[in-house]
Symmetry: C2
Subunit: 404 residues, 2 copies
């Protein structure tokens, strides 16, 4: 950005909900998204839930003229679903996979299989770190079993930003954070990184009320998610911050309003978020902007740490009960082996040996043993990661308290 | 380091081989390591393979006086085994888990269960980024099935260092890289990050010939690993680089020589590596030191990319064959279900139905189905990660070739 006093950057962010065979009118919507992006000519497009590489390839071909640089982040069984299109060169990419991301056995909640991650790219003429990401979904707000996992992800995301952003001039984050603006995870992320919310800071706003991105007017939105929030919820964000001698201002923020401009169907079950940012070089470096030393930050970290601690206790209980189940199955197998040996040795030969039920029981015990051992290993990893995060948070809390 | 012209930093690095129940004379060796570290008073101690938290706690208590700051990195089922002791405050920690780390079903090669990772800590008075790590073990040099995984790890490690080191003055890396100095993974790591090898640059060296860290004189070393290398091999390293306006020089490098100083048993099956570094402030910033634009770098990345490509093809074959196995098992189950239904419908009632063998076969088919599906999912993830790494390497190669 040398010699250029102001850069105006237009950003487009959308959770595309493009799951093959499952998402309604997927191909039509992907075409529509591609057409709109080509016409509008943004500078940077951050997309989530583009689960099929075929859809990405289609978009890439269509957008080659206006967005010559793009990247698709591969991870997990299905993929990360994250991709980026840019008018400016992408110099480098980096994918960080969260250490915890739901449970493989919760098949109906597919998060584990997606390898949720944060894709980071550096480039756009000046050192600009932009991140595209999606955090673990919230399936039930009242009894949210995934809150500790989402908090670990928010924490790892914040740590990732703190550790990778230092050479950047500006950090940009667009994604489906699956958290309401006042949730502890968002407060943790924003407090610990100093990221600003484009919606809160926009000089001009146009779109759904309160910047909501899951709204009842969208025909694809699952209405059961909005039962407690009839006006909609805001879970898709564009966040930003200036690092070195720059200032960033959000000139304008827009969301779609239940349908794509000029048509009658929406882009996705989420609304798109579009921001126009003004990036300006300041005379003097802004100084240490990493980590707001705000006294409220210690409270947020304490609150998040308590939630992670609750998750840790739950994971320890699950580890214990799956371990106990494995031991019981093993005991049953040993008992059966003893019975079989006794029969072979000629004991109880006067009674017929119940071969079929013996085999059924043995296979059942073996199945339970394998499953319970797998669960035990998985919950052991979960305990390690939650414990590690709790430790890191404690270290940060101690440092915050020692600061003058 | 403001106002201080030179800092002399003494570093100790050791793969401790402290596996409960498996490693020989573990407790005695951990006590010995603790006593030596307390007497010697290093500035920074990087340990690997401290698998039991109990051993870490014992060391922590013993070293509390001379190394008031420490951290244990938790990950995977067993743990990362990584820990750090420091005379200077640890300001922040960050754990990065490699996306690929062996196969869960290779139980005899325990890498997958350890959650191999790189633990990074920032601190030591000045912004110093120090890393402690271990890469995937090499089990058979001639037919090294894990080479692509180790290359992905070396690449991710290099990317991690490039992305997180920019705010540091000095980067220090100590660990068991499980690679010989001339291996492609080491050349990739060093070429792409600009890290210098303390052994190659040391003004004074004392220890095993060629800096070897697996030597025949060590009574715990597995002699079969040294069949092709009777003089020993060097796989434990201390690497470093200066980032901003600093210079780093290695004044002295030492290794133990098959036994710990003053006793008759070694610390571990690996030799310890001890470096004395001189860190000095320069008048002027050294400029862009990230990524040596060396033309040889493109060759190294090309070579590594070819190996990753070979791994990708092997992973695709395994994904295909496990998928085919799952389909066959499913077909067998369906056939059995059809046979059972036919019998229930009264067909073939003149012959007795072979219940026992029917059950056995059904359970076998079910077992194969579950196993093959699991393998298929695992190899799908492997393909994604290898493909993603190949892509990243390609992007870097393009950028290297476009550079003047």
């Amino acid at each position: 950005m040398e010699g250029e006093p102001t850069l105006r950057l237009r950003i487009f962010n959308l959770n595309c909900w493009a799951i093959r065979y499952l998402s309604k009118r997927r191909q039509q919507r992907v075409r529509l998204i591609g057409d709109t992006l080509r016409q509008e000519g943004f500078d940077l497009v951050l997309l989530q839930e583009v689960w099929s590489e075929q859809d990405y390839d289609e978009l890439k071909v269509k957008l080659a003229g206006s967005y010559p640089f793009s990247h698709y982040f591969r991870s997990g069984v299905i993929g990360s679903g994250l991709c980026v299109f840019s008018r400016f060169p992408i110099l480098d990419t980096f994918l960080y996979q969260y250490s915890l991301n739901g449970y493989p056995y919760m098949l109906q909640h597919g998060d584990w299989f997606c390898g949720k991650s944060v894709g980071s790219r550096a480039g756009v003429r000046a050192p600009l770190l932009s991140l595209s990401l999606q955090l673990h979904a919230e399936y039930c707000r009242d009894k949210d079993a995934y809150l500790p996992h989402r908090l670990v992800q928010a924490w790892e995301l914040a740590q990732f930003i703190r550790h990778t952003s230092k050479a950047a001039d500006v950090v940009l984050l667009g994604g489906d954070l699956n958290m309401h603006p006042e949730d502890v995870g968002i407060r943790l992320l924003r407090g610990w990184t100093g990221l600003q919310d484009a919606f809160a800071d926009a000089m001009h706003f146009e779109g759904c009320k309160n910047g909501c991105t899951l709204v009842p007017d969208n025909c694809f939105t699952d209405k059961s998610e909005l039962l407690s929030f009839p006006l909609g919820i805001r879970i898709d964000y564009i966040l930003y911050k200036a690092i070195s001698s720059f200032t960033v201002k959000c000139e304008e923020l827009k969301t779609t309003t239940g349908r794509a401009p000029g048509t009658d169907i929406p882009f996705s079950d989420h609304e798109a978020v579009m921001a126009t940012l003004h990036i300006q070089r300041q005379g003097q470096p802004a100084g240490a902007t990493l980590g707001t030393a705000d006294p409220a930050l210690a409270d947020v970290v304490t609150e998040a740490r308590a939630e992670v601690g609750a998750g840790l206790r739950a994971a320890r209980r699950q580890r214990y009960s799956s371990g106990r189940m494995a031991v019981l199955a093993l005991l049953l197998l040993l008992l059966q082996a003893a019975a079989a040996l006794a029969t072979l040795a000629g004991l109880g030969a006067e009674q017929p040996f119940p071969k079929l039920s013996f085999c059924l029981l043995a296979f059942l015990a073996l199945g339970v043993l394998v499953l319970a051992t797998g669960l035990h290993l998985f919950h052991t990893m979960e305990v390690k990661m939650l414990h590690g995060t709790e430790d890191q948070m404690w270290m940060v809390l101690r440092a915050l308290q020692e600061r003058p």
